[in-house]
């Protein structure tokens, strides 16, 4: 195994690397020890609830957005004007709406009907028998 040049190369690489560890300066060693101490201390400290359930914040935000969107859509549907489906039966209505006629005339249609009736009654000859009885 020792004769294998690849294995010898790997062993030498590791030996050189491990030897270089001796040259790490004291300040760096102290900082590494301090970092390890902080890491171990963080284990004994109870984590705050919001860190323990770190999924709760994004899940809550997503749920709030979905509820807001659903409420908005519901509100918009309630307040929007009903739209009649366009069928061929509505063609007459559409011609009235799109036409250039005065729409006030259609509003007073009953009045014009009554007026026409009055004119027809006037134009009919009066009954002579009625005069006698009167």
């Amino acid at each position: 195994m020792q004769n294998n040049p690849e294995t010898a190369f790997q062993q030498k690489s590791r030996a050189v690397f491990l030897n270089s560890l001796r040259h790490i300066d004291r300040e760096a060693i102290a900082r590494l020890q301090n970092a390890r101490r902080l890491a171990v201390e963080s284990l004994s400290r109870p984590r705050p609830a919001w860190r323990r359930h770190s999924w709760a914040l994004p899940a809550g935000a997503t749920a709030a957005i979905l509820i807001a969107v659903a409420t908005g859509m519901f509100w918009w549907k309630l307040n929007s004007q009903p739209v009649l489906p366009f069928t061929t039966a509505n063609n007459e209505d559409m011609s009235i709406v799109l036409g250039n006629d005065n729409l006030d005339m259609y509003a007073d249609l009953d009045f014009y009907n009554w007026l026409q009736l009055q004119e027809q009654q006037k134009s009919q000859p009066s009954n002579p028998g009625d005069d006698k009885s009167g």
Binding site: V16, R31, L38
Partner: protein, 170 residues
């Protein structure tokens, strides 16, 4: 963790070539491991730790690349990647080891670092974790987030490239 921290620091320093960034990365990785994976079995810690550390190293490299791009865009000076010379490193060895041996070891390490820096990222990662850190294939695969076959392939290519670039006399 105490047995790992020195090697982790050197690995981070080799990747980042910056002492402070390496220390910060190791510290972050330790804290993350303690906070997230303390409940896991102890034998799972080394691969998880190195996975977090590699992620921190990549984050740091990305930040540095963006910073350098911005600095070069505004015509500023690039930050020096290497630390200033360390006086402790240059001081005499209190253990009284042979200076010529030390010099040879130091030069060998420098050559290894330079050759490692020239490798593709995944090959470098596989070599560092498997050979320098001494993780087994399964742990290395877990740490790198790939299959054991991929680890073997990356490692084989890394060793081949390193032997070619360092030469037989190394």
């Amino acid at each position: 963790m105490s047995s790992v921290e020195h090697r982790a620091f050197r690995i981070a320093q080799m990747a980042l070539r910056h002492r402070e960034d390496a220390l910060d990365s190791v510290q972050d990785a330790m804290l993350q491991l303690a906070r997230r994976y303390a409940q896991r079995p102890r034998e799972e810690w080394p691969p998880l730790f190195y996975r977090i550390l590699q992620s921190r190293i990549r984050d740091c490299q990305r930040r540095r690349a963006v910073r350098n791009r911005i600095m070069s865009f505004f015509g500023g000076q690039r930050e020096a990647d290497d630390d200033p010379p360390d006086p402790i490193e240059a001081a005499a060895d209190p253990g009284g080891r042979d200076p010529s041996v030390q010099l040879a070891q130091g030069m060998a390490m420098q050559a290894l670092e330079s050759a490692l820096a020239a490798l593709p990222g995944r090959q470098r990662e596989a070599f560092i974790l498997r050979i320098l850190e001494g993780l087994d294939v399964a742990q290395t695969a877990k740490s790198m987030g790939c299959s054991e076959g991929s680890v073997k392939t990356h490692l084989s290519r890394a060793v081949h490239s390193l032997r070619q670039s360092l030469g037989d006399h190394w």
